[in-house]
Symmetry: C2
Subunit: 312 residues, 2 copies
DNA sequence: TTACCGTGTGGAACGCGTTTCATAGCAAGT
DNA sequence: ACTTGCTATGAAACGCGTTCCACACGGTAA
């Protein structure tokens, strides 16, 4: 009942394992007669080569690990979509690695890279410092999805600053002055948050009137609306997602208040419904670029331009 | 520069590979002195065992393959979330396999199961007949996410009929008569679609006034609204997703028409926003159950009750 | 003192495909 | 007749961790 292996096939076909291997891989010299006999035995025994053995022999797995905190935000699902389409086209498999922004967990994935469980690792987001990713490159390709600055690390990311600059300038041009921002994570943890705040300051010369952090879902938006509504002079809310913006708006409505004008991000359905301005970061494209870096092992920085969509 | 292996460690520590292996796995007898010396060498060389070799030796990978057509629907992202949380807890990795409902692709994944690339395979949806999945079980655990009927196949799925029955009875009780359904795929392809139609007929004794197929996104909903609006006597639209329902409603609005009453599914943000009735299928829970079946290899049917949410 | 048990350790085989290298037959070129 | 140069094929080593089994040593129960 135990699985047939290449030596079984060789014996039954009257050839050596080497010839069977060549036949399977269409490599080297194999006579037509040998190939035919071997194929016949293979078909008869329903033999397929064992991938693990092949991987061991070749020292690779054709697996890319993709570290995601969770799959509840379009940023992650879209980027994973992009990665997996590209990976599929290149005959790689995508291994989903849930991190929950837990540094210890992220390190276990770096260890798995060291252990050759994957050929490369893509961090869509992270809790550990970039320097650890840089160091891990000795074990295999490592790609991050944010601007790595001067760090020698492969990266594919949204050129957020440009889009934020454009967005904030537009806000300023429209005459908005008392602006609230919502962020997914505190600026001490997130480069995206830092970029948002820095660009805001660059345009307006001051900090936003209000900053809400740890906002990632519709429910979070709904929740912070109570707090935001206390600032009666707010005239704009720049949020970090269309779903979130939608939650904020609903939170205001349920307090019988009218929300200030809102901008979302990610170009989601909820934002389309409300006709909110948004920023499209092209996450699928970023995912595809990240995979490409992972597969080739190139250490390069691939910024992707984000687009401000004002929707008429 | 090539990686150290267990024999290198053994040599440098003055012990045999067997003892090193025992030390690494905390199995069998190892003296404290031996363990200390070996650990020291391991630390010095930054050695970690090679996972591929371990997998080969043990004949397993601790990988579960998850076949998904795409990740654009909450059904799939949620189920993958559920699977990956459970997998993580059990020290398994999740390999994402994109299928695009392509039978040939799905078969390549079955082959990969045969080749031991994964220990088990979960089909969240499929294009190939169930019988092929049944047959593939000889190579490893195979789980589907739909009612397998009498087929001997592990399954975790939403008890859709019950929820649909409840929903349609409620519609009937409310006096609706001219009802349109939207479906993701034609009933010849999708068991879900068949279940929806069959339950409708059971309650209303006739087919729905209109059936729209190939509807899976907000955009699709928006598109079919044009067609639906031609039927001026429609009094209800039962759609296959909240986002879709939202798209339909918007499509009507943009034609300066008022949409009939709508029901969605999946309990999404957009539906919450519009206060639409919906059906929550608890996909995360289904994912977790599917993983459990995959990991244990149990061949059982795990139906999960879906809930009708009428929202006040 | 003999018999037996727990502890500690190593040799060697195992899982299985790939690849290098050597060997050999045979035809074309000189 | 002799060197080249393919075409074919196999033996054996390789990648690397695990595990079975045999072998020791020290102590204890009989």
């Amino acid at each position: 009942m135990t699985m047939a292996n290449i030596r079984d096939i060789a014996r039954l076909a009257g050839y050596s394992p080497a010839t069977v291997s060549r036949t399977l891989n269409h490599s080297g010299y194999v006579s037509a007669t040998a190939a035919a006999k071997i194929q016949a035995v293979i078909a008869q025994l329903d033999y397929v080569p064992n991938d693990i053995a092949r991987d061991l022999s070749q020292g690779r797995t054709a697996n890319v690990g993709v570290v995601v905190p969770h799959l509840n935000a379009p940023f992650f699902t879209e980027i994973v979509n992009g990665i997996s389409s590209a990976a599929f086209a290149a005959d790689y498999n995508v291994v989903l690695l849930q991190s929950k922004y837990d540094a210890a967990l992220e390190r276990t994935y770096l260890t798995q890279l060291h252990r050759k469980a994957f050929d490369a690792l893509i961090f869509t987001s992270r809790a550990i410092p970039l320097t650890e990713l840089v160091a891990a490159q000795q074990y295999g390709a490592v790609v991050c999805c944010e601007n790595p600055g001067t760090k020698p690390l492969a990266a594919a990311y949204s050129q957020r600053e440009t889009a934020y600059l454009q967005a904030f300038r537009w806000l300023k041009g429209q005459g908005y002055q008392h602006i609230a921002l919502t962020l997914s994570r505190d600026a001490t943890l997130s480069a995206t948050s830092r970029a948002t705040l820095a660009t805001f300051k660059r345009v307006f010369g001051c900090a936003p009137a209000v900053v809400e952090t740890d906002v990632t879902t519709y429910q979070d938006g709904y929740r912070v609306a109570t707090d935001l509504a206390k600032n009666t002079d707010l005239d704009y809310i720049f949020s970090n997602g269309d779903d979130i913006a939608t939650g904020i708006r609903q939170g205001y409505l349920d307090q019988h208040r009218t929300a200030p004008a809102l901008m979302g991000q990610e170009n989601q359905v909820s934002g389309q419904l409300l006709g909110l301005p948004t920023i499209d970061h092209h996450f699928r494209q970023i995912g595809a670029a990240a995979f490409d870096l992972a597969a080739t092992g190139r250490v390069a920085s691939v910024p992707v331009t984000a687009d401000l969509l004002l929707r008429r």
